[in-house]
């Protein structure tokens, strides 16, 4: 599966990329929203793993931008973020139409759980 990983932290990005590749996925890793959009333009991913706390443009801005393209409407997006669910409650209504498949709170999500979420993302949407 082609995974687009949007993770701003260099060390965590390295770790998540290696873990997903170890599980058999092909991973394109980007550290900001703009280059993630460019990466999707070059090669359409099967699933996106997105941190909301990004430099310059936030993950929320990325979501709006991303879903504004008709050809990218069906790509599942997993929120994998340091932002606690509690802090996102006000934004739940915002996220619903944006096709967020799953929310994972990063500090409480093991590599194994992340890999499982990615493995399950496409069948979930189908």
């Amino acid at each position: 599966m082609n995974v687009l990983l949007i993770e701003p932290d260099y060390m965590l990005g390295t770790i998540y990329k290696e873990a997903l590749e170890h599980a058999g996925h092909t991973v394109t890793w980007r550290q900001n929203a703009q280059s993630a959009v460019h990466a999707t333009d070059t090669s359409t991913p099967d699933v996106i793993v997105l941190e909301l706390q990004l430099p310059r443009h936030s993950g929320v801005e990325f979501l709006y931008e991303f879903r504004s393209y008709p050809e990218w409407q069906e790509i599942p997006i997993i929120l994998h973020t340091l932002v606690p669910e509690q802090a996102l409650q006000d934004r739940q209504k915002q996220f619903e139409p944006l096709g967020v498949t799953q929310y994972l709170y990063k500090p409480m999500t093991s590599l194994q759980q992340l890999v499982r979420a990615v493995n399950e993302a496409v069948p979930l949407l189908a």
Partner: protein, 230 residues
């Protein structure tokens, strides 16, 4: 300091600690899963930096920003060398270059060595972690130069506006509301705030400065007169 500001700072420190602990936890898990132990050395430095943040926070909470540390003659070049040595693995891991730049030779300055090292380590770590984007090589410089008011020593970098932003985030913890969704991961200013508190306890508050055309966060230290007379 008012209670609400204390709570805000405590929360910022807790949030700031999330990232290093998360990095350690996931790197350990990766090592278990794949057998890749390449990051073990870096993990120990990350843990050390997190401990410095906790220690610095406890010290600043205890003294409440009072000038309380006993100052002794300290070699600034050796403090900067030691700090660079500690930050090197973190910088390497974050795709960042780290250098020391001393414009000349300096005699000892009056400081508290351990707190000065902790402050520079926290400032360096904050700048390294706050790197704004990929594709632009980040350089962090530990530097010192003479000025009319003393020896200016600090941490500088080549990302325009980053150190100013970090300084603002650190100072914001003294009073204004925190952001619920910060734009830069792991850079909420707690490290800068604690560094500032440690430096204040040496009667040398943190300030913005420039070094070789680079912007950064620095402290102005006074030469040790006693040793100059010897």
């Amino acid at each position: 300091m008012q209670t609400s500001a204390d709570e805000r700072l405590l929360r910022a420190v807790a949030e700031q600690l999330k990232l290093p602990l998360l990095q350690i936890a996931r790197a350990a898990e990766l090592a278990t899963t794949t057998g890749n132990t390449a990051q073990l050395e870096t993990m120990s430095y990350i843990a050390d930096t997190a401990l410095r943040l906790i220690d610095g926070f406890l010290l600043s909470a205890e003294y409440g920003g009072q000038e309380s540390l006993t100052l002794v003659p300290v070699s600034i070049s050796s403090v900067l060398q030691d700090t660079a040595h500690k930050l090197m693995p973190l910088a390497r891991q974050n795709n960042c270059d780290i250098e020391i730049n001393l414009s000349g030779k300096y005699g000892p300055v009056m400081a508290h060595q351990e707190s000065l090292e902790s402050a520079f380590t926290l400032l360096g770590y904050s700048l390294i972690e706050a790197r704004p984007a990929e594709g632009h090589r980040h350089e962090v410089i530990l530097g010192a130069h003479r000025s009319a008011s003393g020896l200016v020593a600090g941490v500088f970098d080549n990302q325009p506006g980053l150190s100013t932003d970090m300084f603002r985030r650190g100072r914001a913890l003294y009073g204004t509301a925190r952001q619920t969704l910060p734009t830069v991961s792991g850079a909420n200013g707690a490290g800068v705030f604690v560094a500032d508190s440690l430096l204040k306890a040496m009667a040398a508050p943190l300030h913005l400065a420039r070094h070789n055309k680079l912007a950064g966060l620095a402290v102005t230290l006074h030469p040790s007169n006693q040793l100059q007379l010897v």
